[in-house]
Symmetry: C2
């Protein structure tokens, strides 16, 4: 007797569970679980019965319970500094395309270029038992470093290259800066101003500037830097152009930290009747489509953004599938697009 197994349900609406499907199909719960997770381990006939039962009862699987039980969430934490910048969106698109194919779900976090915020996001995402972490850049707060060191799962640091604890996929920004500086020297420019917006935040632009400066100083040239407040992608570029023409009348070229700024400058020049590159040459970085559509076509450096995403995802997945865990670095390279603006 007894039998007061009858307990009050905590949820008002009961969704069918694995047990309901199992009862319907006349098998055990674990068999249903196997149909969902490793179908090849179940006899086709059984599988068919179970699948019919799943349809019949309208079962929706509870991923939370599964993840808790298996201590494996199939979440990939992705942390980027900004969504306003199309560059990171393209990286995310690459990551998502690849991860989705393998049944992983991205948890997206946006730091707004704040390292403390980044640390907080990392903590939260670890709390979700993420299977891996993809984070932008190699610079993190100390607290964040400590958390990551004790974490057992794959960590991919993307966009730039450097010393890595685990996976590192990106390009050599200093080299990109050098490359463009050399290109400008090759075109005969000697007075080149480097223009960035909020360099303390976008420190990868700082790395490019360092490369740029190195090349110029090797030639005994100075490397003036103009670091502006950020107003809006294009507007800042336009403002920078005015400022250089006023305060650096000797300059013959501007090396912009990115294509948004450079494009803003070219469009402004166009409207003001300033001839590019005759009066002032303009170069950018990223190889955004817009730069290749304006007149003059922008000289820039193509960064393979979606490739970074795909390659990072591919390597993370390999590790999750059991590849060895020796630190690995992948240089995706870059390409100089010589346009008409220099």
């Amino acid at each position: 007797m007894g039998g007061d197994k009858q307990r009050r349900n905590r949820k008002s609406v009961m969704q069918p569970t694995l047990a309901d499907v199992a009862r319907e199909a006349g098998v055990s719960a674990i068999t249903v679980s196997r149909v969902l997770n490793s179908p090849q381990a179940v006899r086709p006939a059984t599988r068919a019965t179970v699948e019919a039962a799943i349809d019949k009862v309208g079962y929706v699987r509870n991923m939370l319970a599964g993840s808790l039980a298996s201590a494996n969430s199939r979440f990939i934490a992705v942390i980027v500094p900004s969504l306003a910048n199309i560059v990171f969106v393209e990286v995310i698109a690459g990551l998502q395309a690849e991860f989705e194919r393998h049944g992983y779900q991205i948890l997206l976090g946006n730091t707004d270029y704040d390292l403390d915020r980044e640390c907080e996001l990392v903590r939260t995402f670890l709390g979700w038992s993420s299977s891996a972490l993809v984070v932008t850049g190699l610079r993190h707060s100390e607290a964040c470093q400590r958390v990551l060191e004790h974490w057992e799962h794959p960590v991919a640091e993307i966009m730039e290259l450097g010393e890595t604890r685990d996976l590192n996929i990106g390009l050599d920004h200093a080299e990109a800066g050098r490359c463009m500086a050399k290109h400008l020297l090759g075109r005969g420019h000697r007075q080149i101003v480097y223009v960035a917006a909020q360099l303390e935040r976008d420190y990868r632009a700082g790395l490019r500037f360092a490369g740029h400066r190195e090349v110029l100083e090797e030639q005994g040239l100075s490397a003036p830097l103009l670091d502006l407040e950020h107003l809006g992608q294009f507007e800042t570029g336009a403002q920078a152009l005015e400022e250089v023409l006023t305060h650096h009348p000797e300059a013959t070229a501007i090396h912009f930290a990115n294509d948004d700024l450079a494009t803003g400058a070219i469009l402004h020049a166009q409207r003001q009747g300033i001839r590019v590159p005759e009066e002032i040459a303009i170069a950018g970085f990223n190889g955004l489509p817009i730069g290749q559509r304006i007149t003059p076509r922008l000289t820039t450096i193509l960064s393979p953004r979606e490739t970074i995403g795909r390659e990072a995802a591919r390597r993370v997945i390999a590790r999750l599938q059991g590849a060895d865990r020796t630190p690995e670095q992948h240089d995706v390279g870059f390409e100089l697009l010589a346009g008409e603006s220099t």
Copy 2:
């Protein structure tokens, strides 16, 4: 005898749990849980002890377990048709800003304009016990409709306006189409070609075209439509311009389905020496920053994208906090930006 409570751990590395913190602090697990979830329900002194214990043992809370136990994940499923289009990225930015403030985590899904894919994503996200769903558009597959009807949580359909089951935040695309058509008529144009890319996918562009056609036909004018394959945002616009000039020499204006196409056309015209708007007027839709920087400045309609995201998030949060569940529609409106291109 007995006493073989000694079981093998399933996880190799044991993270500290609530119970560990509780032991350290000399309280019960539920008290630690309260410190994390409703701190005001715990005496400050106890809270301090517990917080110290949390730090001491390096506790990272397991969100999966919490969500499972409480049947409340604090996940918001967000489904958009594309990440390549900056418009949706801005909506996501708005959603994320608002949701993050309230401790919700976005699960991002990308349908690539495929309604079956959308349905699949909805199912997956329900499996994560999402607290709410934000989905782009009002058109869904039948299977998807059925799933959503049985779902008990808030569903926000965004971008366009129409009959809604729950929450609907967007703008009236037909009206936007009418608005631009009237503007073009007002500027004296009578032969206006509407140009879209892959209209069957981007059906909201179709709604705008319907509004556009309505206005023209009221005036006894024809409303030719040019629907192109999608090549790349700007390239398709350039191609469309060529095609209109060749096959519709009588046309004096092109009403583009979006700013990307329109911008591509203007940049192409600039390069080819085609005068805009003298030879051909050009109008777009979305009010992207680039359109306001090119010469001539693009005539377009500003869609408040980040506002859509914020408003949607705000209303979803209100519902999650217990607001009544009567269907609600919010028209975010739009604004005609009369530029120099018409």
